[in-house]
Amino acid sequence: MIELGKYAQTVLSAYGISLALLAAIIWQTLRANARARRELEEHESRG
């Protein structure tokens, strides 16, 4: 483990929040994409 000194909390929380936000937008993007693809395929196979 690398030494972060007295600012450990600062650095870790910055990384934590940023990565969480990035993960949230990536997750939302992928989920919406999968849903749109599935619905379109369902519709096209039906029609």
Partner: protein, 241 residues
């Protein structure tokens, strides 16, 4: 062969489908690589370990501004040449840009707390990013509020044009309003004030990573929007039949 061929949604879907895996791989590689490399850099003699935050803060801020620029260009293309993919790409970029703005603001606040002794300072750069975030919120809210997709594209495009002018004006107005604490450009070319190489190279890599990440997200979101639009068109046709 010209770039306008990608205005055809089918062609766009096919081409973006083939390049997307490469972009995703590049984005993952560069972002993770840049952040890990950045995390392992030695402490700065003045800032201590907080210098590591720069590898998140600067790329996010860079993409926050470039996302708005990209929306401006895409809106102009839609308003002038009426290519639907362009309007959808502008729509797709907004949430990603808003998240980048938020990351830049939050990392800035977290860094500012020990360094400047305050979470928030009404500094020109911080303030103009807050205004930029408000513009993103208004833009997304307008997309959500209008039902007819073409009207929504037109009106948000207009808002993006007018908003760009005023965002830029605000940027210079706040400069005038309050002298800031924020340091100048981190990657200034002027000798003597640039960062040392141990920080600069991981920062470049991280910036490339964020750029590719933004590109990948916008492509995926644009594909989502195209599919949604197609589904809505099919349903409408069935409804009529």
């Amino acid at each position: 062969m010209s770039i306008w061929e990608y205005a055809n949604p089918v062609k766009f879907l096919r081409t973006s489908g083939t390049v997307l895996p490469w972009i995703v791989a590049g984005a993952a590689l560069c972002t993770i690589g840049g952040l890990v490399w950045g995390f392992l850099t030695p402490d700065d003699y003045r800032q201590g370990s907080t210098v590591k935050i720069v590898f998140l803060h600067v790329p996010a801020a860079l993409m926050a501004i470039n996302a708005w620029l990209m929306m401006l260009v895409a809106s102009l293309i839609w308003l002038i040449r009426r290519h639907h993919v362009s309007a959808l790409a502008a729509k797709a970029a907004a949430p990603v840009g808003a998240v980048m703005t938020l990351i830049a603001l939050i990392t800035g606040a977290i860094w500012g707390q020990p360094m400047w002794g305050t979470w928030w300072e009404w500094d020109p750069r911080l303030t103009s990013f807050l205004v930029l975030f408000l513009f993103y919120l208004g833009y997304m809210a307008l997309w959500e509020a209008i039902e007819d997709p073409d009207s929504a594209a037109d009106l948000t495009g207009l808002l993006c044009l007018v908003g760009s002018v005023f965002a830029l004006l605000s940027r210079y107005a706040v400069n005038f309003w309050n002298q800031g604490l924020h340091q100048g450009a981190s990657l200034s070319v002027a000798p003597g004030e640039r960062m040392s190489a141990i920080y600069r190279y991981p920062l470049y890599l991280s910036m490339l990573g964020f750029f590719l990440l933004f590109l990948a997200l916008v492509l995926i979101r644009t594909r989502t929007e195209i599919r949604r639009r197609r589904l809505a068109a099919l349903l409408a046709r069935e409804h009529r039949a």
